[in-house]
Each structure stands twice: as C-alpha cells, then as structure tokens.
Symmetry: C2
Subunit: 463 residues, 2 copies
Amino acid sequence: MPIKDIHQAIEARFPDHLEAIREFVRTPSISIDGTGITETAEQVKGFLEEAGAEAEIVPTKGHPVVYGELMTGKPKTLLIYSMYDVMPVEGEEWIVPPFGGEIAELPDVGRCIVSRGIYNTKGPLRGFLNVISTLQELESLPVNLKFVIEGEEELGSKHLPDFIAKYQDRLGGDAVFFPWFALNRRGRPITYLGAKGMIHVELASQGGEWGGPRAKGIHSSYGAWISSPLWKLVHALASMLDEDELITVDGFYEDVREPTAEDEELLANLDGVFDERMILEENDVARFKYDGLHGADLLRKYLFSPMINIDGLLAGYTGPGVKTVMGHKAIAKLDIRLIPDMTVDGALSKVRDHLARHGFEDVRLEGIGGYEWSRTSVKEEVVEALHESYRYHGHEAEIWPYIGGSAPFYLFTKQLGLPLVMGGLCHGGGAHGPNEYAVLDQLVQYEKSIATFLLQFAFGSVD
Amino acid sequence: MPIKDIHQAIEARFPDHLEAIREFVRTPSISIDGTGITETAEQVKGFLEEAGAEAEIVPTKGHPVVYGELMTGKPKTLLIYSMYDVMPVEGEEWIVPPFGGEIAELPDVGRCIVSRGIYNTKGPLRGFLNVISTLQELESLPVNLKFVIEGEEELGSKHLPDFIAKYQDRLGGDAVFFPWFALNRRGRPITYLGAKGMIHVELASQGGEWGGPRAKGIHSSYGAWISSPLWKLVHALASMLDEDELITVDGFYEDVREPTAEDEELLANLDGVFDERMILEENDVARFKYDGLHGADLLRKYLFSPMINIDGLLAGYTGPGVKTVMGHKAIAKLDIRLIPDMTVDGALSKVRDHLARHGFEDVRLEGIGGYEWSRTSVKEEVVEALHESYRYHGHEAEIWPYIGGSAPFYLFTKQLGLPLVMGGLCHGGGAHGPNEYAVLDQLVQYEKSIATFLLQFAFGSVD
C-alpha cells in the first residue's frame, strides 16, 4: 500500500488514537512505589495482543517486563524497547491533575497534553502501538516486531539485565527502535546516537566507632567536642568535586577516552546549529557553567564529561524554623553519569577507594544501581532509515553523538550487539518534573513518521 | 519558720504538686508552630496569680511574655527567668505519648516522668511555682519575686529583647534565678555560670544570574554543563570548617579571648572530676573529637571553642528510591555557638565576608536570630547562696564556667547588669529529643532545695 494511503488511514483513525494515548497516561504507573504497575503491565499486554502480537507478562525480581512477538514472515525484524513506568509527581506543582491526560495551553509551546508519562514514555509508546494496529488492519506491517516493555526504567532498569539474559536467544533481529518524541521546541528533530551510563548511589554518614551520635540526634551544642555525621558527609562530598565542579575523585578521568573521529565530525556539524539559548530558556537557567565556550566546544563538554549530581540531601532537622540538633545520619543521593570508556564497576570502585584514601572510610555507599553507556554509529542502516523518513516529512535531523541522560540501551547495543535508534516527529518536554507535556497538534505527524520509518527501514525506500 | 518545717510542708503537699507538674506538661506549647501557646501563657498567668503575684500577659511581635510581680516588702528581690514553650516532637520515637505526662521506667535512670517539657523547662518552672505557693501559704516567702516567663526560648528568644527594653525600669532586683534540674545522672549538681552565645541562620543556595536552575528542578543530566545550587551549598559549607572540624571562616577566632583566671581555676577544679564517660554514654557516642585530650584540657576545648553545627540539610529529592533531578534551591540550617568576646553581629559579618571572599556571594544568609554569650562570677552572692543550699542537702556542686548550650541570659547579665544562676536538685535529660525525662523520686528534693536556696539567699543562712 502506498505510504500516502497509510498516512490517510492514520489520519482517519487519529481521534481514536488520541483518546487511546490520553487514556493510557491516566493510569498512574509509578515504579518507585509500585502504584498502578500491575494494571499497566496488563494494559500493555492487551495493546500488544490487539495489534496481533503474542504477548506475555514476564515476572522479574522487581516489576515485570511485558514481552511480545509479532512475526509476519517479513525479512527484517525490529526489536522495540520501551517502558511503561513513570516518575512520581510528589512535591511538584502542576497546572492540571498530573494523571488526567488533560489538554492545556502551555506558554511558548501551545496546546499540549499535559500529564505524567505523556513524553517519558507512555505517549510515544502508545502512539507507536496505534500505528502498528493500523498497519495490521491495512495488512501492511512491513517488518517483524519484538517488544521489550519494561516497568523499572525510572528505577534504573534494575532487573532488565536478568530478563535480557533469560530471553537472549529470542531477542535476535536487525535493529532496536526506541519510540520517542524527537522534535525540539523549535520543531527540529534531534537524534541521539548513544546514552551516557549512570550510577545512582547513596552516600551515608552515620555516627559510629569513629565518633558522632550513633542512634539518635543529640543537642547541637555538643558539636564543640563531638564530631558530626553531617559535616563528615559535607566534606566527603566536597572532596569529590571542586568548586569549579571538576570531579576530584582520584583517577576518575583515567578511563575517559577522547571523542572518536565520528564524534568529532558530528560535533563539527552541530557547531552553530544546536540551539544553546533554547536549552537555557527551557530550563530557566541564566548561563552554562563553561564561561566563554560555545558551539561544538560547549557541546563537547556536555557530552564527553562524566558528571556527579547531588539528587538530594537528607540530614537533620528540615522542618520549619529552628531545631538545634546534631543528627546521627546524613544521606546524599547521587547520580553519576559515565562516558566512554568508563564502566559502572570501575567508577564505583574509584569512588570507594577515593573515600577510603581521604579519611572517609566510614561514609558508606548504599542503594547502588547503574547502567553502562551505549553508542550506535551514524552509519548504521537503521539510523539512515530514520533520517531518510524524517526527510520524507521535510525534516533534517540534528545528530548528537550522545544524549546527556541515560537509558539501558547498552543491554541491546553491547550485550545483544544490535544498533539502536530513537525517534519520532513530535515535541515533548518536562520529563521528571511538573507539567510534562507533548504538543497536541504534532501527535498525528508522530504516528505518520513512525509508519514512514518502518517502511523505509523495511524496503530502503517509501516509494 | 524553720527550714525543716517548710520542707515538711512541701512533702505534705507533694502529691498535689506532682499532679500539677504532670498536668502542666500535658498541654503542648510548641513555639515553632504556635500549638498551645495561648492556652499555656494563660495557664502560667494563672499559676502566678494563685501564688499571689500580679501577673499580665505581655504581647510581643511573636509569642507573649508572662510577666509577674510578687512584692512582699522583703529586702531582697529575685528575678525569675523561665520559659513556657517547648521543642516539637516530630520525627522522634517516644516510649510514651510525648504530651502525656506519663510515668515510665528508663534504663539506667529509673522511674521518671517522660514528657516533652518535663526537663526543658516546664517541669522546673512548675516545681518552682509549687514552692512559692507553699511558702505563701506558710507566710514564709523570704524575698520579693519578679517573673519573666517567655514563650519563644526554643525559637531563639527573638522578641525577648523588645520586652526587656520595654520593662527595663521594672526589672530591677538583686539577682536572677533560672529554675533548673541541675543534677547529672550520677546525682551530682552541676552549676553552669554562663552560656555560650548562639546564632541560628540558614544558608540558601539558589539558581540565579550566576547559573543553576532558578525556579524549578531540572533533569540531573544537565549537571554536565549547568551548575548545581546543591554543589554550591556543599562547597560553601565545606569552606567554613575543615575536615578536623576547625572553623575556617576568615577571622572567626579573632575575637576569641583566652579563658580568664577564674575560668582556669574552675577548669582545674573539674580536672579528673567531671565524668567524660557519662557524657559519651548519655549521648550514645563512642569518642570525643579531640583524641588524647582528657579532663580540664578536653573541657577547655568544649567550653572555649566556638562551633558551627549543621542542624539540617534540605535539598533536592529526599523521598524513597531514586529521582535524577538537579534541585533549584538548597538550604542548610546552621547554629553557631559564640564564646567570649565574640558577638552575634561580629560573627555574622565574618561569615558574610567569608562567603563573599571565597566565591559564594550568591549563597544567601536567611532567617537569622541570635543570643550573645553570658557569664556570672562564681563569687557572686547568689551563686554562693545556691551552693550553700546544696550543701544543706548534702551535695557539693561541680562548677562549670559555661554550659555548652545557649540561653538569652545575656539580657539579664549584660543588659540589666544582674548576676544569674540556675539550679535545683533533680536530674532530667533528653532535651530537644525523644523521651525527655525527669527522675520521679527527686522532684520532692528539687522543691525542697528551691525553698532552701530562697532562704539562704534572703538571710545568708537557713538556721
């Protein structure tokens, strides 16, 4: 069937597709506390079955993975990776109920669906499945599909490696696709060819044999002769990063390698193209931390620097007013981003050794999880197919070697050895924060672009 | 009336006195959120009137002061300073309801009243007023009394200076007495001749022109090129104190003077006397931070060192699990203890200058309050009267030049120029924490010791 007819069919069905998307984000599926996880996994299994796939809910030690196969006997097989879980919304101020799937006007963006998960990543997933159902109705699905839809991405995909190991024999294919709203605010599609690795970890300082109160807070005046677990944590943290935010963990940059020739070519292409001002505006930030750097030089810092962020500090009395107390335990929640050739184990042991060497052997690392980094070459067929399909819709992608964030893509690229690409022509934003959104009027284009991509990937052309 | 008869009268009335004490702590009077403050101020006014004083509730810009005068035409006048407010109990685990006034067995201490305020300071206050009522009934009150009972001590006595300024002309007298449970756990009375000064202050780091997210949290991956308000706070804190907890705020020790000859004499008397082990046990701490120091040398560090404590850290995501976010604001609640000749204004401006000089001009000081330090000489008549009254009950006081904690005593000693002493023969503990207590069987001795002290102070003898 000609691509134009497929697009028309999508357009005709779009009112129903839109309702399906809005309905999907209305079920909270918060992995951190398990809210709605079971129901949502069942929903996803149902969506796959409606599209004609064989689907199952695969238990893990955490939240289940929904696995599906839709084998049509076509020559090419695409593995779809996505997630059905979302971040919590506590402590955030929303202009609409965060699980309402409501339509609202956002300044500078326009009419959007504003709802947790609409961008990251239930919106892109449901839109993708809408397209598959349509293609099946039209008997025009051009590829075989396998689906790995996990429920713990926002927790660091802790049990996805177990699933991948268990299903490794069935996960063969030609490439992996991660459905995503790839347009930036100015309507330009961005392709990220890789993701940084990430470790999340807690640094915990508690009174013990070294000193400090062991089991409960004590009067703060004792601080004149009793050591404080809070000060110990502050100094342990300060020892890891200097005042210019350069990481000072001993040997932390040892495994960092220079960007490759392909990386540098991509950076050169992005010089003067990627929109620095927009990134500052979107995040309500006045300046980058690298004064005087712009273009490729600025981007190189962003994409090729490891990073340690303090996600949260939890220590002592944090209520209103004053309580003069020395707490017995202080915790810093950190996330550490890894770039080639750093590894989770390597970085963790460097942090551990650093703490021990600098007198912080009593500051413990707890609650550890992590991903390795991932990268696909711009020359891979699946990447070219995506960009060719964008061109069909009149878009030229801005190609970034990495995204600043992290995802468990390494399980597919390193462990299964498959190229992985992410995309789709819609704009969204506000991940992990209030008023997460997707632009309403672009959702139909997103679904069309998915169909175009599948045909392009299957046949090397859409004509 | 002979002292023995007065003591017998107290003993006869003690069951009622005990109920009055338990009843008083059952009304929460939490200054931080205002719970029960109005009712409790009314209660205190009632107690003063029952004892025959003229009493009034004096409004301030915060919680009111209860002021009273009980003028009996005696030659000597004692000004009583106390407080009717208590610390909050949130986040604390109690073995009984914290506002129940219940009796419970505590390990190593025995049968106690366990209740917020029983030690700090509603127990000592109510016990003192029980004695005054008894002395009045016996027509044996040997002094004139003035009462200043404030409701904001736990907030740093923010509006007490206004009250003192307004009532300065009426606050004359011979000395100030602060009713207190002065016995330590081993049954030894401790006299603290002074109190450290204190500043409480918040250090606030927020995104702004310097960088960092200004109004809401952003995705943590941006930490690779956007500065973090949390890291800025950590570095600002770390710049103020080194890893040995020596204060590194520029010039912070400039105004610190050597202990006086009287201080050194008192320290020498305490050498080998004050119980280091007990202090560690009571606080469940393994060691002091000054390895190898003991006796007078250890105590000198405690009492003659300024101190900066982190009461609490409030920043970013502090819920369960992981949220990869860079917060837009981070706050550290601090208390700073001041010793002679430091001043609140001097120390604050040193902190301010230090932050500015070290690149933290964007870290703001907020929510400031404070006390100056205070000191009364051991040679003052009122101090000698207290110690002579202890001897009557078979106790020899351990005399400390200062307490490690703080109180607004400077308003009386520096502003009004009066000597101030605190005491009474009962043991209590757990101030500002869970299971605050006073030893049940010592409360009658406390009341007797108050009567003995008043007679000793009035007549220079109890015979």
